[in-house]
């Protein structure tokens, strides 16, 4: 296997594993999307 191909494969593997794990970690940290869940608004009729 040529050095360039080896390094390219290594790069892909690193980006895939480290990138995926860290990005999934953000998603699991669950950024607040539902504003009403945090600041319940009571609507009076």
């Amino acid at each position: 296997m040529s050095l360039l191909l080896r390094q390219f494969l290594g790069f892909i593997l690193l980006v895939a594993t480290v990138g995926l794990a860290t990005c999934q970690s953000i998603i699991k940290a669950e950024p607040v999307a539902d504003v009403e869940a945090v600041f319940p608004v009571t609507v009076t009729k």
């Binding site: 080896r6 390094q7 494969l9 290594g10 790069f11 892909i12 593997l13 690193l14 980006v15 895939a16 594993t17 480290v18 990138g19 995926l20 794990a21 860290t22 990005c23 999934q24 970690s25 953000i26 998603i27 699991k28 940290a29 669950e30 950024p31 607040v32």
Partner: protein, 286 residues
Amino acid sequence: MKTPLTHYRKPKQFISNTLQRYSPRGLLLYFLPMALIPATIIALGKGNILGIIVNASGFALYVFAAWCLRKGLQAETALADSPITRTPKLPLKMLAAIITALATGLIAWLGAQQTFPVAMMFAGGAFLGMYLSYGFDLRQKKKIADAQGYSGDEILRMLEESSLIIRSIEQANDKIRNAELNQRIENICAIADRILAEIESDPRDIRRARKFLNVYLDGARQVTEGYARTHQLTQSGQLEQNFRNVLETIESVFQEQHQKLLEEDVFDLDVKIEVLTTQLKREGIL
């Protein structure tokens, strides 16, 4: 006439070190875990203690791994330039790969909440990625051929010791606050490095250079270290002038030594050409 400071040639190894220091190789590992910074902040905002610990420690592990990797790559370049260079005690690139795998497994398991076997696969993938991208540390040192009754290992050891002496002269030089003297000492170190490189490329020079390695080089260190210590205590013009005179002498001796090694090479080549010419004449080719 004084030589302008800019006319001094920088030793090869300094240029190489500078290039390696600013090389982008290995920087990827600093950038990849950037997502952990917002992840930590979000975990902090939500009061998720486990999230804070996992993401923050994961980020710290990646940064440490990146530091180890860069140091390992620098050591590898220095070793490729010269076999005299000492290898780091720890296999830094291997250490970086292990830490990266550990951090990735940790983040995947506790941060991304994957199952343990899947987190292990993440760790394995990261380890393999590190190996394929950067390889592992070269622990095998280059060999130097036996010469003049010395084994290759003996010659390598002598060169290593001499290289350490040159480095300690440089360290002492850092403590001296005089640009002119600093430049002279740097020049002496550069010549000494060139002499070592000469011996390294042709170990037969070792016998002729022994006096240089044992006497002059060590003398230069003692004088430089002594001056670095004493000039901070006393501001004596006479002391400075004496030191300057000694440095001039050392520089001329070193240059002479280097010249001798080069001339001997030319002499060797002349002899070889003469022997070859005689042989060709005898064979009737010339």
